[in-house]
Symmetry: C2
Subunit: 227 residues, 2 copies
DNA sequence: ATGGTCAGAATATGATCAAATTTTTTTCTG
DNA sequence: CAGAAAAAAATTTGATCATATTCTGACCAT
């Protein structure tokens, strides 16, 4: 599947500008974030050059970036793979997510207009539909979209970057959890978040975010402990 | 100056194994962390291939990693440069550092032996000498070494990784501050940290760390505001 | 000012070399 | 002779480089 080759398209020349290494990065990032890659799965350069139809240099660069992101791990020898999380990893991520993301929520709360909140709520409605349908991929995408949309309003790019990096780390494992438990049992404190946003209560927004994080991460920790 | 070419060395074949892109990464990382690169300074691939004596592929990979780290920024067009921090950036970093590093200190406090603390104190003594001598580079290196040594004992690699990433972001700017104010006025809550470690008071360790962070970062914020 | 041209820098490819893994062959023992 | 361990070959994968192409920004002419 080629990523590039949009030359003949007269209409859509908006997105064609990104260089190949950037495209490869985004593609892989997406696959990791939404669990299309299994934890422990090896990632090879040559495999990607073939499946993505680009040379090795762009693939290499994308892989290096993802390693720096913590989304992939370099296995001492020259192999790269999707990370397998340990209980200790999850515990640290719970702490870090709570610290960073509750602050992002708190800041967003002070800056969102009613229209912004409406938009967020619409994402959440679509998310509910995915849960009802048992669509794991759709759930993961919209859950991420919900938090991303919220955090974008915090106007804190560095904190958001830290949060995003953490999401990349647990993406693959989260998918496994969803696959095991189904979408029904998934936590969703989003209604609380939206309610608190409308009430203008920043502390309550932060608190609800913490609960949302903790429920999801606890579920993941349990699933990991089972193995 | 070549980085590689250790082939003929019969004695020192311990460090020769790292691939070139790794070496380039470490070199640049060091330069950024200890302020050998000036904020705003452009970083070119070809310039580095010449000054480091390696091909462009390894240089590219190292640069991509550093961009992901936040240690370099990609300027939309194809330019890469050392980041210039804004007041908002510093403010976010203060929050993030406080959250992450105070926790690292807290965790380290519960795990360090007397011997470990002695070692840390020795780093601090060397650090004092650097301050007395007005050696900015030495100060930066040992200040980093102090915190790194402390955080290593926390046994929390993910949190430490987050902290390290933040240090990479402010490295160049910290150097500028030191250059401007000299080393005399630099904060040093390290004595408090060591004292609290010996007393086994984890909360006090965390508190002292927070103060150390805040003093240093405030100084940086002031220096940035002057321009 | 506006538009075209040009140098220089970044991006991408494929070839080449080196390292690691896997498979096959060989060898040794019970 | 069978089976396991060791050795060696083959294959796969990663690392690096030289080269070709594409893009950007500056300079110059109109």
């Amino acid at each position: 599947m080629d990523l590039i080759k949009n030359k003949a398209s007269g209409a859509s020349d908006a997105a064609q500008k990104a260089p190949a290494h950037e495209q490869v990065y985004r593609t892989l990032r997406s696959q990791i974030l939404f669990g299309e890659l299994v934890p422990g799965q090896p990632v090879t350069i040559q495999g990607l050059t073939e499946s993505l139809g680009v040379g090795m240099t762009p693939v290499r660069e994308a892989i290096r970036r993802l390693i720096s992101d913590g989304a992939l791990i370099f296995q001492g020898n020259r192999r790269v793979s999707v990370p397998l999380l340990t209980g200790a990893d999850v515990e640290q991520m719970i702490f870090a997510r709570n610290a960073v993301e509750s602050e992002l929520s708190r800041r967003a709360a002070g800056r969102m207009t009613t229209a912004d909140i409406d938009q967020l709520e619409q994402i959440d409605r679509r998310l509910d539909r995915m849960i009802a349908d048992g669509d794991v991929s759709g759930y993961l995408r919209l859950n991420h979209a919900f938090h991303e949309n919220l955090y974008d309003h915090a106007n804190a790019p560095i904190l958001k970057d830290l949060a995003e990096r953490l999401w990349l780390r647990f993406g693959p494992s989260l998918r496994v959890v969803c696959g095991r438990f189904g979408t029904q049992s998934l936590p969703d404190r989003h209604k609380d978040i939206i309610g608190a946003l409308r009430a203008g209560d920043a502390e309550k927004v932060a608190k609800a975010t913490t609960q949302d994080i903790e429920q999801g991460m606890e579920l993941m920790a349990e699933a990991l402990a089972e193995d």
